[in-house]
Symmetry: C2
Subunit: 282 residues, 2 copies
Amino acid sequence: MNNIHVIGLGLLGGSFALALKKEKPSLNFTGFDASERNLKDALTLGIIDQSSEVIPAETDVVILATPVDTLESLLLSALDQIQENTLVIDFGSTKEALCKAVADHPKRTQYLAGHPIAGTEYSGPKAAKPDLLEKKVFIICEMEKTDVHLKGMAYDILESLNMKLRFMDPEEHDRQLAFVSHLSHISSFMLGKTVLDKMEDDKNIFDMAGSGFASTVRLAKSSPAMWAPIMEANQGNILDALDAYISNLSKFREKIAEEDKSGLKEEMASINKIGDILDLGR
Amino acid sequence: MNNIHVIGLGLLGGSFALALKKEKPSLNFTGFDASERNLKDALTLGIIDQSSEVIPAETDVVILATPVDTLESLLLSALDQIQENTLVIDFGSTKEALCKAVADHPKRTQYLAGHPIAGTEYSGPKAAKPDLLEKKVFIICEMEKTDVHLKGMAYDILESLNMKLRFMDPEEHDRQLAFVSHLSHISSFMLGKTVLDKMEDDKNIFDMAGSGFASTVRLAKSSPAMWAPIMEANQGNILDALDAYISNLSKFREKIAEEDKSGLKEEMASINKIGDILDLGR
């Protein structure tokens, strides 16, 4: 393995390249970004060594780390371009549509459907950092459909980055991510909106905001260019998650309206166990 | 100023005493907690020097740092007990009802209605830490109703703790806190519940949870004994905040259902500015 080509040089693609460079300094990194500014920044920051709009013939692994609405065409075009010993991995936040789109492609075995569970509310190459992926979960979907030798290269990379592998169906992936990731982003955006609307009456309302508010609203700084396509691609699951969330909020609202203090206490106490679950999960 | 008496030796009361001890080592701290265990822990951890169920006669400042449903009777009883040069400060998360309850008390001038905007999702004396209040906002309501000389003692303490003072009406306080604090806690609890419910079908769903989920759900570890009374005391404002939040979620849901990608992008982009506002506010 000598050459890696990264398409999409933002937070995730950039962090991946920086981390892998550190572990395997002999690798050569080429790459491309539709934004000229990102491309320039990625070169300046040493994320890639050379820019290249086409995938160089000698590339071993192509990484696709762009918003999910661009992945299908990028993936199909990458598969059309590559040699027989090249692997393409995508980092998209939704997997079902992409796996379907590529299911009958003659080079399906040269594709690995991946998703690193890592990110921050910031985006772009300047937000990239070499430890972003460290010890994070990397989900692989339909692993049985990828060529065994090419898969070996992917495992080698993921192991050197200290990532924890998980395997699941694309449908299961998208359903679960709607609840543990996509819903959190929507709840955060809407919390932000609710308080921004309130600011019209209460100008100094943000003076009162403590660390709790900052924590729940942090994701409202996330990139719309990344998140609108996720909401489109995972529409059904996200609507399910949102409906469950709104229903829970409405029932909790009724308990407050009815002054059901013991009901509120019991409910919150039973949710407190999430603390243990999350701590165990780390 | 020689003697401080702290009633309620949990996260907030404990952190206050630890911090003030560090700044003014000559002060003597007495205190009490309805939980025997908390009281014992507070003595072991050096939060207080002696335990005392009654307020010692020579006390300069009494701090009330208990759940909001206990504050009214504790405040009235404290005012009844104290000498004329003693000040009582409460740290309650809601202020309107308490200020009303004490409005006609003959010793009203010996009370300062306070609220430090500080906390974590943990509770009890073991969660207390001397830097919790450092550089945080301390809200004072109805400052004009407190005796000028007694208020001087409070300013002296708050200044030595490096806190930033803000002054507002109790009504304004409760309304704003419903939006920037109480709503965040409810959104977090309900996010936790929505995913815990989902765990019945998808056992390993928490494996997929990244730092974004952890951040939005962190407050779901908060103490029900503290939060159920806040929801009761600030019912009207919390219902307003929740209704606005649920309405925003429902409208956003419609945009997703209608595949209004440009509408979603615009909405999220306009909420992104909360990042600048929060950063400026710190």
